[in-house]
C-alpha cells in the first residue's frame, strides 16, 4: 500500500530523512518512533508527497486526487480555522471523492462519527471543543476519507488515556478491515501494545523495522532513546515502562 525507496528529504543541504526504504502492507498498524528531531514528521510528509524529496514514494507518484483517495494524512498541528460544525468538518474528508459519491459520503461520515464517539457532538462548533475532542474530530475526518492508508503524525498526543487506547483500537480496526496505518507516536508502551510493526528513526535513518518485541531491545533503547526501560510480555500483551535516562 506504500512503498518507499531510498526516500530522502533535504532541509537545505542537510538530509532530515536519509535514504529510507520500507513497505507497508494491508492489515498493518505501523508505529513510527524515535526521539524528537529524528525525522518522523518529514518521513511521513515526504511519503505523502507534501515535501520535496529524492528517491521514491509510491504515493507521491499519484495525482493529488488519486493520492487523497489512496491515503489520508493527519498533520500534527490540529488546525481548525472556522467554527464549522463537527458533522461539516468530518464531511470535509469526502472532498477527494467528488459529488457523485454524495450518498456513500453521508454514510461514511456517520460511520466515522460513530467510531470516534462523536455522535452527540455533530452540531457543536468544532472550535468550541476541547483540544482532545478536536483531535478526535480530526481523526474522524481522516476516517471519513475512506482511504485505505492513513498516515498520522502524533494523533494521540494530548489525548486522555481512554481516548489514546480508543484511537489505537480504531486504527487496528481500520487495518483489520483491509487498510493500513502508519502513525508516529512517543508512547512506546502504546506502540508496543497496539502496533503490528515498529519503525525506529534516529537522525534521519530508519535504524530498525520489525515487530515490537524484536525492536524494543535494551541496546536499541540505550542507543536511540538514551533510556533504560522495563519490558515484559504478559498474558494481556507487552508492557513497557521507561525507567531512567542514560548519560548522553
Amino acid at each position: 500500500m506504500l512503498e518507499l525507496e531510498n526516500l530522502t528529504v533535504l532541509r537545505g543541504e542537510c538530509p532530515v530523512v536519509d535514504r529510507v526504504s520500507a513497505q507497508v502492507g494491508p492489515g498493518e498498524v505501523i508505529g513510527l518512533i524515535g526521539p524528537n528531531g529524528a525525522g518522523k514528521t518529514s518521513l511521513l510528509r515526504g511519503a505523502m508527497g507534501l515535501l520535496a524529496h529524492r528517491g521514491d514514494s509510491s504515493l507521491s507518484a499519484l495525482d493529488p486526487m488519486a493520492r487523497a483517495r489512496a491515503a489520508a494524512w493527519l498533520p500534527q498541528a490540529r488546525e481548525i480555522a472556522w467554527g464549522l460544525s463537527v458533522a461539516d468538518l468530518v464531511a470535509l474528508g469526502r472532498l477527494p471523492h467528488g459529488r457523485d459519491q454524495a450518498t456513500r459520503g453521508a454514510a461514511a461520515v456517520e460511520e466515522a462519527l460513530r467510531r470516534m464517539g462523536l455522535d452527540n457532538y455533530r452540531d457543536r462548533a468544532a472550535t468550541q471543543l476541547s483540544g482532545g475532542e478536536q483531535a478526535r474530530v480530526l481523526i474522524a475526518r481522516a476516517l471519513a476519507q475512506e482511504s485505505p492508508l492513513i498516515l498520522a503524525d502524533e494523533p494521540i498526543a494530548g489525548l486522555d488515556p481512554a481516548a489514546q487506547i480508543a484511537t489505537m483500537q480504531v486504527f487496528t480496526a481500520h487495518a483489520q478491515a483491509g487498510g493500513a496505518v502508519v502513525t508516529s507516536l512517543h508512547d512506546l508502551g502504546l506502540a508496543a501494545r497496539h502496533c503490528t510493526r515498529l519503525w525506529v528513526m534516529d537522525r534521519g535513518r530508519l535504524v530498525a523495522d520489525g515487530a515490537p518485541g524484536e525492536v524494543l531491545t535494551e541496546a536499541l533503547l540505550a542507543q536511540v532513546f538514551h533510556i533504560r526501560a522495563h519490558f515484559k510480555n504478559t498474558p494481556e500483551g507487552p508492557v513497557f515502562q521507561p525507567l531512567s535516562t542514560l548519560g548522553v
Partner: protein, 327 residues
C-alpha cells in the same frame, strides 16, 4: 434557518434595495412614473432613470457583490476574519492608476480613461505580488507582499497628490479616492461588468479548496487540493473584481471586511457557503449605503466610501474587542 433560505432572503433583499435605489433620488420622480419612464425611456424622467439611476443601481449591486465575495474569499484563503479584499494591493494599485489619470489630465480625454488606468494599476499590483511572493509561497508571504505593494502604491499616490498642479486637481483626486457611485454611466457598467462576472466565476469555484483549507495548508494539500492553483484563483479573482470595482467606484472600505463576518455564523462557517451569501450581502449593504448617501444629505454629495468607513470602522472595533474577549 437553512442555507437555501438565507440565500433566498438575501436575494430578495437585494432585489428590494435595487428597486429602491432606482426609485429614490433628488429629482423627485414618483415611483410609478419612474418605472414607466425607465421602461419607455421618454422625457426627462426617462433620461434620469436610464442614464443616472439605472447604472448607479447596477453598479451598487455589482461593486457590493465584488467586495463581499472577494472579502469572503480572502478571509477563507488566509484563514483570518480580519483579512479584506484590498490586502493583496489591488485596490491601492487601482487607486494609483486612477490618480495618475486625473493628475495627467488623461481622464478628461475620454470617459473610460480613468477606469482603464485604474484597471491597469490593479494589474500591475497583481503582477508585482506574484513576482514578489513567487509561485510557491505560503499565504503569509502573500500577505506580506500585499502589504508592501499597498504601501508602495499609497506612497506613489501621495507623491502624485504632493505634486498636483493645482488645488483643483488635488481636490479632484481626494474626492475620487473617497469612493462614490454618483454620475456613473452605462459605459462604466459595460466596462466593469465583464471583469466582475469573470472574477466572480473564478472565486465561486474556489469554494471546495477554501473549505479544505479550514484544516490548514498541509491537510488541504493531502486532500487533493492544489494550493498553487487555489492561490492563483484567489489572487486573480480578487484582482479582477476589486480592480474593476475600484476602477468605477473608487476606494470603498470595510464592506469586504464586515459582510463575511456578519454572515459567517448563519451559513455554518463553511467558506464555500459564505462565498455566495457574502456576495449577496455585500450587494445589499453597498446598495443600502448608496441609498443612504442620497437620503441623509441629498444636497451635499456625501461620498459612499466615507459612509461605509463611518459605519464600518466602529463595527470593526467592536469585532476586535469581541475577539480579544474570546481570546
Amino acid at each position: 434557518m437553512s442555507y437555501r433560505t438565507i440565500l433566498i432572503l438575501l436575494s430578495v433583499l437585494c432585489a428590494v434595495l435595487f428597486a429602491a435605489s432606482l426609485l429614490i433620488g433628488p429629482s423627485g420622480i414618483s415611483p410609478l412614473h419612474g418605472l414607466s419612464a425607465l421602461i419607455s425611456g421618454d422625457g426627462a424622467a426617462g433620461l434620469v432613470m436610464r442614464e443616472l439611476r439605472l447604472p448607479r443601481a447596477i453598479l451598487g449591486i455589482g461593486v457590493g457583490a465584488a467586495l463581499g465575495l472577494s472579502g469572503a474569499a480572502m478571509q477563507g484563503f488566509l484563514r483570518n476574519p480580519l483579512a479584506e479584499p484590498g490586502l493583496i494591493g489591488t485596490s491601492a494599485g487601482a487607486a494609483l492608476g486612477a490618480v495618475i489619470a486625473i493628475q495627467t489630465g488623461l481622464y478628461a480625454l475620454f470617459a473610460l480613461a480613468l477606469p482603464l488606468a485604474a484597471l491597469a494599476g490593479a494589474g500591475v499590483a497583481v503582477a508585482l505580488i506574484l513576482i514578489l511572493a513567487g509561485r510557491e509561497g505560503r499565504a503569509l508571504v502573500l500577505i506580506l507582499a500585499g502589504i508592501a505593494v499597498s504601501a508602495l502604491a499609497a506612497a506613489a499616490t501621495a507623491l502624485v497628490l504632493n505634486l498636483a498642479p493645482s488645488p483643483y486637481a488635488a481636490a479632484e483626486i481626494v474626492f475620487w479616492m473617497m469612493g462614490s457611485l454618483a454620475d456613473r454611466s452605462m459605459t462604466h457598467v459595460a466596462l466593469a461588468l465583464p471583469f466582475l462576472i469573470v472574477g466572480a466565476l473564478i472565486l465561486l469555484r474556489a469554494g471546495a479548496g477554501l473549505d479544505a483549507l479550514s484544516l490548514g495548508e498541509d491537510a488541504a494539500a493531502s486532500m487533493g487540493i492544489s494550493l498553487k492553483r487555489l492561490r492563483l484563483q484567489i489572487v486573480f479573482g480578487t484582482a479582477l473584481m476589486v480592480g474593476a470595482a475600484t476602477a468605477v467606484a473608487g476606494a470603498i472600505g470595510f464592506v469586504g471586511l464586515v459582510v463575511p463576518h456578519l454572515l459567517r455564523k448563519s451559513v455554518g462557517a463553511r467558506p464555500s457557503r459564505l462565498l455566495p451569501a457574502s456576495a449577496l450581502g455585500g450587494a445589499a449593504m453597498l446598495t443600502l449605503a448608496d441609498i443612504a448617501t442620497r437620503v441623509i444629505a441629498p444636497e451635499r454629495d456625501l461620498k459612499l466610501g466615507v459612509l461605509t468607513a463611518l459605519v464600518g470602522a466602529p463595527f470593526f472595533l467592536s469585532m476586535i474587542r469581541k475577539m480579544g474577549r474570546e481570546g
